[in-house]
């Protein structure tokens, strides 16, 4: 059986499916009884959703052409 602190140390591995089946069972059993750990796991699995999307230059035609030009004008140093 894990306590809350031990569970938090394994939380990320749990979310990524990297625990042994025995560890997984212990996590599930613990969260059945512990609402704070349940909350913590739910929140940790959510955090990446808050990250800003990189809607950076997803290759507009113009940017592609300018990159191509830069590539082709570079002297080949081989």
């Amino acid at each position: 059986m894990f306590n809350c602190k031990q569970l938090s140390a394994l939380s990320s591995d749990y979310l990524d499916g990297k625990l042994t089946s025995r560890q997984k069972l212990s996590v599930r059993f613990h969260t059945l009884m512990c609402k704070y750990c349940r909350r913590f796991l739910a929140q940790l699995s959510m955090v990446a959703a808050f990250l800003p999307e990189n809607h950076s230059s997803d290759g507009s035609a113009e940017e592609i052409e300018s990159q191509l030009k830069r590539l082709l004008s570079k002297p080949d140093h081989s």
């Binding site: 306590n3 809350c4 602190k5 031990q6 938090s8 140390a9 939380s11 990320s12 591995d13 979310l15 990524d16 990297k18 704070y36 750990c37 909350r39 913590f40 929140q43 940790l44 959510m46 955090v47 990446a48 959703a49 808050f50 990250l51 800003p52 999307e53 990189n54 950076s56 230059s57 997803d58 290759g59 940017e63 592609i64 052409e65 990159q67 191509l68 830069r70 590539l71 082709l72 570079k74 080949d76 140093h77 081989s78």
Partner: protein, 197 residues
């Protein structure tokens, strides 16, 4: 992978359309990775260096990984080389600090339990996005790169390990630390409406 083979053959023939295609497909991911490892100031330079390295190495591409993984690995290498040259490189942050430790009592139970979140409001908050952007660019070592590759590019662990040249267990540590830091920033924002520090 099949389209990779065709593309590589055309690239080797210096076909311009092939270059267009490969730039269109991977440039954004390359830039994002360079930024996450080395910061936005020099990300573009790193991408340019990477293209030169890619063109040079292409005849030796062994197809053990996808073209995308191979390209991103070159970008990560260029970024790390650059950081090493500037003495800013740390693959794993040295401090083995456990950010969460203070929140548990001696018996291992929560002392300061996580507060409830209001996901709807958080998701809509532009301020929170700014906080997280700031955090992502200040995370040590390869943490933000690892998290981005995992969460936004949806790459498999083996590919991420390959790209960043870290072991599977190092990747797990990187992801955990990055998520814990994000968790802290989101929680702090939920409580105060402000970024940490």
């Amino acid at each position: 992978m099949e389209s990779d083979a065709r593309l590589i053959a055309e690239l080797l023939k210096q076909d311009q359309n092939a270059f267009r295609e490969v730039i269109g497909r991977y440039q954004a991911a390359m830039l994002s990775l360079a930024r996450n490892i080395a910061g936005s100031a020099i990300a573009d330079e790193i991408v340019q260096e990477s293209w030169l390295a890619i063109i040079k190495a292409l005849p030796r591409f062994e197809r053990r990984s996808s073209l995308k993984t191979w390209i991103l690995r070159i970008v990560a290498n260029e970024a790390k080389t650059r950081l090493r040259r500037e003495n800013r490189y740390q693959s794993m942050d040295s401090g083995d600090e456990d950010f969460m430790a203070a929140r548990f009592g001696a018996n291992g139970h929560w002392l300061t339990p996580p507060v409830e979140w209001d996901p709807e409001t958080l998701l809509d908050s532009e301020d929170l996005k700014l906080c997280l952007d700031k955090l992502m660019s200040s995370l040590p070592g390869l943490q933000s790169a690892a998290l981005k590759l995992k969460q936004q590019h949806g790459l498999a662990s083996t590919d991420i390990c390959n790209i960043l040249d870290v072991s599977e267990s190092n990747l797990r540590v990187l992801l955990h630390r990055a998520r814990i830091r994000l968790f802290q920033v989101v929680e702090h924002f939920q409580q105060t409406g402000e970024c940490c520090e």
